[in-house]
């Protein structure tokens, strides 16, 4: 068999952690325990998991406003994340960042980014560090079909090719930039083809298929580690929630959500595949479900009990010295 049980368990645990984390965020937002804007990643779990399983803490990722999944897949502490999203002082960013700005530099997660198209130029920089210092680390930027139209992304794609940077651009095409269809806002037929036009290898894959993501990411990450330069993956995926939590989603078609949840749920598809192939027992995955549920419960409990920042924290950490 091609995949070890350890690998499959890790993949499943990551995806399920993201799923339950997001579902709980939606609930806690509705209960008033999470302030601000929250953008849930549920539905897209296979992309974050399939890419980040190839990365170490020294490899760098940059993410989006919809960044919880990337954080979890890159190894950020789920409890620290929940505290951060609740605005608590013991959160990963001391409550200063919130849902859209979670980072954990020790894990190579240099930031969720609330500016659409914010991360690709920064990930070029991380890739430039790797290249200049002669490490074999890589940078991965996550963006959506929306960010694919931002000038920053297009500039970064070209510069990555010009400087031959070890940077893999992941374009998660979930069909929507906020509430506008990609069919409308993306002027070309294929984002993979558009990206290839910059002079890098690029392919489109089914982003709801963990194994498709995992294999393609492996190929491109290996290429970058060997000095082969940048590449791009357009992962066609689905978004289970709105643009933001609380979005009434009036732009959805009739039965659209029911349909994608029934037929394009990447976690269901993963379970079906691994049980059909007899790679993993359903019972083992059920156990993981229970473990993950307990972890999320603990995250919420600790998050609720964590202290808010002190007034003096308002002024802290603007500069190292000033």
């Amino acid at each position: 068999m091609r995949y070890t049980p350890e690998l499959l368990i890790e993949a499943y645990r990551t995806m399920q952690t993201i799923r339950l984390f997001e579902e709980r965020c939606i609930l806690e937002f509705e209960r008033g325990n999470i302030p601000g804007f929250v953008h849930a990643y549920n539905g897209q779990e296979a992309v974050a998991a399939g890419v980040c399983m190839h990365l170490s803490d020294r490899d760098v990722i940059g993410s989006t406003h919809r960044g919880h999944g990337h954080c979890i897949a890159k190894g950020c502490d789920v409890i620290g994340m929940m505290k951060e999203i609740m605005g608590k002082s013991t959160g990963l960013c001391k409550g200063k960042g919130g849902s859209m700005h979670i980072a954990d530099f020790d894990k190579g997660m240099i930031g969720a980014n609330a500016i659409v198209g914010g991360a690709p130029p920064l990930c070029n920089g991380a890739a430039l560090t790797a290249k200049t210092l002669g490490t074999n680390h890589v940078a991965v930027s996550f963006g959506g079909d929306g960010s694919s139209n931002q000038g920053t992304t297009l500039e970064a794609l070209n510069m990555a090719v010009v400087l031959q940077l070890p940077h893999i651009f992941i374009i998660e095409n979930n069909g929507y930039g906020e509430g506008t269809g990609a069919d409308y806002a993306v002027g070309c037929e294929s984002l993979a083809e558009r990206t290839a036009g910059f002079g890098m290898p690029a392919v489109a894959i089914d982003g709801t298929d963990f194994f498709a993501v995992y294999e393609q990411a492996k190929e491109y990450i290996d290429l970058a580690r060997k000095g082969g330069g940048p590449s791009a993956i357009e992962a066609e995926t689905v978004r289970f929630d709105g643009h933001f939590i609380g979005d009434p989603q009036l732009y959805r078609g009739e039965n659209e959500l029911d349909d994608i949840k029934k037929n394009r749920d990447c976690i269901k598809l993963f379970r079906n595949r691994v049980t059909a192939e007899k790679w993993l027992e359903a019972e083992r995955m059920d156990e993981i479900d229970a473990e993950v549920a307990a972890l999320i419960e603990r995250a919420v409990e600790e998050g609720m009990n964590a202290p808010f920042p002190e007034p003096a924290d308002l002024y802290a950490d603007v500069y190292k010295t000033y």
Binding site: V60, G62, G91, L92, C93, K94, G95, K96, G97, H101, A103, D104, F105, D106, I110, G111, N113, I115, G118, P120, P121, L122, C123, N124, G125, A126, A127, L128, T129, A130, T132, L133, A139, G151, T152, E155, A156, N158, M159, V162, L163, A316, D317, V318, Y319, K320, T321, Y322
Partner: protein, 348 residues
Amino acid sequence: MTNTAKQAEATGTSSIKTYRQAINEALFQEMRRDPTVIVLGEEVSGGAGTDGIDDAYGGVFGVTKGLVHEFSRKRVIDTPISESAIIGAAAGAACTGLRPVAELMFFDFIGVSFDQIFNQAAKFRYMFGGKPNTPMVIRATVGAGWRAGPQHSNMLHPVVAHIPGLKVVMPSNAYDAKGLMISAIRDDDPVIFLEYKTLYDSKCEVPDDLYTIPFGEASFTREGSDVTIVAISGMVPRANAVADKLAGEGISCDVIDPRTISPLDVESIIESVEVTGRLVIVDEANERCSLAADISSIVAEQAFHALRAPIRKVTAPHTPVPFSPVLEDLYIPSPERIEQAVRDVLEA
């Protein structure tokens, strides 16, 4: 004795260098000392992908000239004309282990890269809970007088001084330029380093060794007791000339060059105004919501009791920079306008 002269005393050999040479020397010496320092931007070497020579430009005003020969294109990186990608690459490199010095050519180009400066680099430390250092320098040229017209001549430093998380450095002479550049490269926060175009060939004694000038310490370029003149960047030599002229009439001026406007040495300005009771602020930036307005409000709040005349600001008007030399010369604060402002506050 001025602060500048005091600091120069402490060093070894020195020679007359231009502002351009001083910054170039700082880059050479820091790149030799620290292998994580890189330079990137448009034409920092020049000639990439051409049949001609490397170092064809050495930066738009020749400030990075020669670096590519010693440090190769690996550390002296010519980029496409993509300012967002340049600043983004610098910010991403800075928070992952390098000390990039990115060149923006003309500071007017912050318009096409601003998100990466103020939403990204400037906010990293704060919004990520104090963890990341972002030790990057953005070099750019400022100022009118080059007949470069509305889109290559602005000052715009008030725009960046407004932003928490950025430090803003504006040297007015070669000595300060070298010491401040070395400090900027070694600083762990993003630093905007603004070079006044028509100062590039100005000269003074500059130590050959490495030295740093701390941020937030103003320099008194002239000392006096009748009027305080705070002058910024390219306006400092003009203010000095006016002070020298008026000294012949028995009017003595403190001329304060803040050198860095974020952090700003408020203390030195207040101390001076406490003595003189009269303040003239000379800055080539546009007047509204500006550094001059900021200094004016700080002094009005903290030293109102000491003021014996209304504060006067000598700035550019609320217009873009015009091209026609006749109009451009009117745009830049002239020695005559500075002198008149000093006389006005003395007569008030």
